[in-house]
């Protein structure tokens, strides 16, 4: 076991939590990510292997599925696999072992920062942040969106509960944009 201490994307030893009125923005460092891109001609095989890994049918366009290992759609025959960090720090290797040569797998854990937004008026916050029709997003929906000029993913965990993935190096800017929107509208 190595002895290097991790910091969160916002630079803390503990994840940051901000609450404005009834909405909470929580930094979520405890997630491992691996990208999966099916290789040419191996699409069906890759889908099948991924479905087995996440325990459900491979998510369709704009959707995510699976628990505790889940995947969200990121492009044609491409997905991002999510899993709890503590149990899956080596996720990329685990996914590669499961899928083999049917897909290219890349560790993406620390390429992203995740903020979970929860609360009654979370839609009003998201309305100031991203062009998605968030009021129409249902549980299991996942979409790309630009937030504060940053390429992000927005996942609807349940009505009133969203995850936003953005580039880790810009975590501070993304967090600032989210909290500013919360203070603006709530």
């Amino acid at each position: 076991m190595h002895d290097l201490a991790a910091i969160t994307a916002l630079g803390g030893s503990e994840p940051r939590v901000d609450t404005v009125a009834d909405v909470t923005c929580a930094e979520v460092p405890g997630v491992a990510l691996a990208s999966v891109a099916a290789r040419s001609g191996q699409e069906a095989k890759a889908q099948k292997a991924l479905a087995k890994l996440i325990g459900v049918k491979t998510p369709d366009i704009g959707r995510f599925a699976g628990d505790p290992v889940s995947a969200f759609w990121t492009g044609p025959d491409q997905w991002m696999v999510e899993a709890p960090f503590d149990s899956h720090e080596g996720l990329a290797q685990q996914v590669k072992d499961a899928i083999g040569d049917a897909a290219s797998v890349t560790e993406q854990t620390d390429a992203w920062t995740r903020f979970d937004l929860n609360g009654g008026r979370v839609l009003a916050v998201l309305e100031l942040l991203c062009p998605l029709d968030v009021r129409k997003m249902a549980e299991g929906d996942a979409a790309r969106a630009a937030i504060h000029h940053l390429g992000c993913f927005v996942l609807c965990r349940s009505p009133g509960s969203f995850s936003v993935y953005g580039p880790r190096s810009s975590a501070g800017s993304l967090h600032h944009a989210i909290v500013t929107a919360m203070k603006s509208t709530l």
Partner: protein
């Protein structure tokens, strides 16, 4: 002062009184008042001075089309010039100032301009201030700018916040008058997602301005009840104070919501305005119509206003501009104003109707076939002079005159995709054409349906059609359905000064002059006379200007055409367009994994794209950046230094065709690169010029990691995706960026291996034999953390780059510093990095500047002839391969104390110094601590053959003239022994 002109009734809240100031005097108002209505209630008719002649002006309208009643709101850094008093809501403590006057509104010294009006006609500036040319910028323009114009800026930063947001709906209804409200009811009751936006703070449009009934209710009560029903529907979003400013592509409408303009102070963090990008499947324009004035002699005195505005002030705001008023009209609508005002107790001097067959009314005198020919009253209307049908004259005493010349549909948004309105003879006005923005329909008065019943019906029907609704429409309340009979009457013939565009002081005469001087296109008319420019964009003046122009040209109005309507519909503060993207938030910032550690060390940061990178790490006692940088270079070359190079782009390339793919994007060969090896690579653009350089490390048969320069990381990734998806879609290759995923540090210097051996887990042998120069591999560090190690060197020293998952980057940097203490380890920044790469002769962004080829960079032979790669063919172009082509060289001053300046040009040792004799230029320069003098990299004609030559380095603009010697670009360790050690 008491509100002497306050009438009974209205939609104001008399239970509450608001205090406000105008031109430093205190007044009172009620909630529901606009600044204009409150001033009129307080018997203030004079509100501003005109643009050019500084003539006294009052309000003309009761809405956003107002040309005259423009004021400065608030004070200090929140001051906002050119705000319409007719839309500004009064709040407790509102502070407003008139503008464009000196020293005071009542006595304005520049009103002298009015005396010289004969000289100040259209085109005056163009004709007068032509000579001498140099006077324009220094003398004429400052004087004109001071004399003419509208409000003044605070010259301070706006402290308020603005937001941007995104809305989605099935139907966007623009305007909440009778058509808009009925459309919203129709659509809302079916469960469709509806947004109903209106620029007013009270929804209802003209229903709030009229005295008639809708069904059993007053018009305003019906509007309020309808709004109440709509607000209870979860699928309907009511947006008062929201102006839809433009129709853009793909069903997107811009809407500005004024969330904070009506309150004295905004809570911290709350926006003053929000710019909503609204995505809608269908849009229904219910923007109503604007009454048009009539131009006659001195028709601009305070107290002269649109008759419909007078009715709005009376019915909605319970105020009148004067206790005795006259009406000048060419249609029945003017009579309605007279009736309503009379019902409120205002005396009607007379209704002057140009029509011989005007209806008679037993409540007030109607002068049929009569015209207002002149007015009196210096600071406010006192008398109007009327020419009666029999040719006689009559003077009427009145403090206000309502003018009604008919109505123009508000077609603006229908034209935002360059559609043209069409002339409607029945209306004698332009109505929406057929080429509307896709998805838009128009209802109510905006579509030329000017009766209330017609508006209600067309609103309901249009909503049903837009959303393809089946079933019965909601019941319509019984409403007035008067036939519309508009006969054009634009201006009185023979006037000396009849005002068309009151905001820009354009008279009928100016339009005639413009025509006389050859400006025949309406666009030219607009620019020559300024008709229809500025904050009101000619909403009350364009039509009359067109009509006069058509008359002069002997054409019809539709033949004459209109000017183009462009967004925004009404003025928008620049801050609203900027939103939160200002100052530090203008763009996102990227922080490196060692950022927090570097900040603790007191690093000086530099912006590189969005990244903040440590530039150098000053130590106590160091007073100049060079001291820090020189120390970092010396210490690295003497022992070991560490630099955060995470910012370099990292692209994961996988797939069975990964090697073949890289063979295409790099000009040099990659197919045979062994697993566990890294290779320097150069990418060319399609045109053969160098695009970017970097390395590709082969981690497996089907897996590479490509690095790019920091600046080009995004461009290279985009380029590679283009190549993958468009040029070679059959290749099995997958790309993804991993720039952020890994914290990567360069560990450079003779002791770099010893330092790394302390953290790399012992099962990995990183000796020179086991891990030679250009080696790479996956390893573990610090007891099992997955990591990647690359033996590559930018500094020219024995060097490695080590990468760990980003979250551990901070800890790894601290560990390297701690474990490196015994080696006197030094962190170095981008300056030292740059110095060392110049000493080593490595090209970077300064050299890969888009104008250089592989040949120029001394890498011509890298472009493989054994394979086809992007840019390789065009790199062989004639002209890129001339014998005297620029080649990268090193330069040193002959006198060691002389400085090399980047950007300076190389000239032969003797001969002229001019562009014709230019031999090349310096791209990078630095003081080299290793050589103890300045050095530089330069592109020199036939540079490869000119080593040892003495030349002059010149920059005539900055007085540089230094004797230099051409040397190898590899100043340090030219044989490469250190990096292979």
């Amino acid at each position: 002062m008491t509100q002497v002109n306050r009438l009974s009734g209205g939609l104001i809240d008399r239970n509450s009184t608001l205090n406000f100031r105008f031109d430093n005097r205190n007044y009172t108002a009620h909630p529901g008042d606009t600044l204009a209505s409150a001033l009129l209630a307080n018997d203030v008719r004079l509100i501003g001075r005109s643009f050019k002649y500084h003539r006294p002006r009052g309000v003309l309208t009761a809405g956003s089309e107002e040309p005259n009643g423009i004021v400065e709101l608030r004070a200090g850094n929140r001051k906002e010039p050119n705000t319409r008093a007719t839309t500004a809501e009064v709040y407790e403590g509102l502070d407003a100032q008139s503008q464009n006057r000196w020293p005071s509104l009542k006595f304005d010294a520049l009103a002298i301009n009015d005396r010289f009006s004969n000289f100040l006609t259209a085109g005056f500036y163009y004709k007068t201030f032509m000579w001498p040319a140099v006077f324009w910028e220094k003398l004429y323009e400052p004087i004109i700018r001071k004399a003419a114009g509208l409000g003044s800026l605070s010259m301070e930063d706006d402290p308020d916040e603005y937001d941007k947001g995104f809305l989605h709906c099935d139907l966007l209804i623009i305007g909440a008058g009778p058509a808009g409200l009925m459309a919203a009811l129709t659509a809302g009751r079916t469960g469709s997602d509806v947004i109903l936006a209106d620029e007013d703070f009270a929804l209802g449009g003209r229903l709030n301005s009229e005295s008639f009934s809708l069904g059993d209710d007053s018009a305003s009560d019906w509007a309020a009840a309808t709004v109440a029903e709509l607000s209870a529907l979860p699928n309907v979003r009511l947006m008062p104070r929201t102006t839809v400013i433009g129709a853009f592509d793909h069903g997107i409408y811009g809407a500005v919501e004024r969330t904070g303009d009506h309150v004295a102070t905004l809570p911290v963090g709350k926006p003053r305005q929000i710019l909503w990008r609204t995505y809608t499947k269908r849009a229904l324009l219910c923007a109503g119509a604007t009454e048009r004035p009539i131009a006659f002699e001195n028709n601009d005195r305070p107290g002269i206003m649109l008759a419909s505005a007078m009715r709005t002030y009376a019915n909605r705001f319970a105020t009148t501009a004067a206790q005795r008023v006259a009406i000048f009209t060419n249609n029945d609508d003017g009579h309605r104003t007279a009736s309503d005002l009379r019902a409120k107790g205002v005396k009607i001097a007379a209704v002057i109707d140009v029509r011989d067959d005007a209806p008679i009314n037993y409540e007030f005198e109607v002068l049929k076939g009569a015209q207002v020919v002149d007015t009196k009253g210096r600071l406010g209307l006192t008398f109007v002079e009327v020419a009666l049908a029999d040719g006689s004259r009559r003077i009427l005493e009145c403090g206000a005159l309502g003018v009604s010349g008919g109505w123009n549909p508000n077609v603006h948004l229908t034209c935002h995709h360059r559609g043209r309105p069409v002339w409607n003879d029945d209306l004698a006005a332009f109505a929406p054409g057929d080429d509307l923005p896709p998805g838009m329909t128009v209802a109510g008065a905006a579509n030329g349906t000017l009766s209330t019943h017609g508006a209600l019906q067309s609103g309901a029907e249009s909503a049903a059609i837009a959303l393809d609704l089946k079933g019965a429409l909601p019941d319509l309340p019984k409403a007035e359905d008067a036939p519309i009979n508009q006969t054009p009457f634009w201006y009185l013939k023979g006037c000396a000064r009849a005002w068309l565009d009151q905001q820009n002081d354009v008279t009928v005469k100016d339009v005639k002059l413009s025509h006389q001087e050859g400006f025949r296109s309406v666009e030219h008319l607009k620019r020559y006379t300024t008709l229809g420019m500025a904050t009101d964009q000619g909403k009350t003046s364009n039509m009359a200007g067109l009509a006069i122009m058509a008359e002069l040209a002997g054409k019809s109005i539709p033949e004459t055409g209109t000017t183009i309507f462009r967004p925004p519909y009404t003025p928008v503060p620049i801050g609203t367009f900027a939103g939160r993207m200002k100052g530090q938030d203008f763009h996102p910032t990227r922080l490196t994994p060692s950022h927090y550690w570097a900040k603790e060390r007191g690093a000086v940061f530099v912006e590189v794209g969005n990244w903040l990178r440590a530039q150098w790490f000053p130590l106590p006692g160091e007073t100049h950046w060079r001291e820090s940088v020189d120390r970092e270079v010396r210490q690295t070359r003497a022992s070991v230094g560490v630099c955060d190079c995470t910012t370099l782009g990292k692209i994961d390339v996988q797939g069975t065709d990964a090697a073949a793919f890289l063979n295409k994007v790099y000009c040099n060969g990659f197919a045979k690169l062994a697993i566990g090896k890294t290779r320097y690579g150069l990418m060319l653009r399609e045109d053969g010029m160098a695009m970017d350089d970097g390395t590709a490390a082969r981690l497996a048969e089907d897996h590479f990691v490509v690095t790019t320069t920091t600046a080009n990381a995004v461009n290279v990734y985009r380029h590679m995706e283009f190549v993958r998806q468009c040029l070679f879609p059959d290749m099995d290759v997958q790309l993804i960026s991993t720039t952020e995923a890994w914290a990567q540090y360069a560990v450079a210097g003779p002791n770099s291996r010893k330092l790394l051996q302390k953290i790399v887990d012992p099962e990995f042998d990183i000796s020179n034999d086991a891990f030679p120069f250009m080696g790479c591999g996956s390893i573990t560090v610090c007891g099992g953390l997955r990591a990647r190690l690359f033996r590559i060197s930018f500094s020219g020293e024995l060097a490695f780059e080590i990468a760990v998952p980003s979250r551990y980057g901070d800890a790894l940097m601290r560990r390297l510093m701690q474990d490196g203490e015994e080696f006197d380890v030094v962190p170095y920044g981008t300056e030292a990095l740059g110095v060392m790469r110049i000493e080593k002769g490595h090209a970077a962004g300064n050299e890969l500047n888009g104008t250089t080829s592989a040949l120029n960079l001394g890498m011509g032979r890298m472009v493989s002839k054994k394979k086809d790669s992007i840019g390789s063919t065009l790199s062989e172009r004639e002209g890129l391969n001339e014998p005297d082509a620029l080649m990268m060289v090193g330069i040193k001053p002959v006198n060691a104390d002389d400085k090399i300046t980047a950007g300076a040009h190389l000239m032969d040792a003797s001969g002229p110094v001019d562009a014709k004799h230019d031999q090349g230029y310096v791209t990078s320069a630095a003081f080299s601590p290793s050589l103890d003098c300045h050095i530089g990299l330069a592109f020199l004609k036939n540079g490869g053959a000119r080593q040892g030559e003495r030349m002059r380095l010149v920059s005539p603009l900055t007085d540089v003239n230094v004797e230099v010697e051409i040397v190898s670009a590899h100043f340090v360790d030219p044989e490469g022994e250190r990096l292979r050690a």
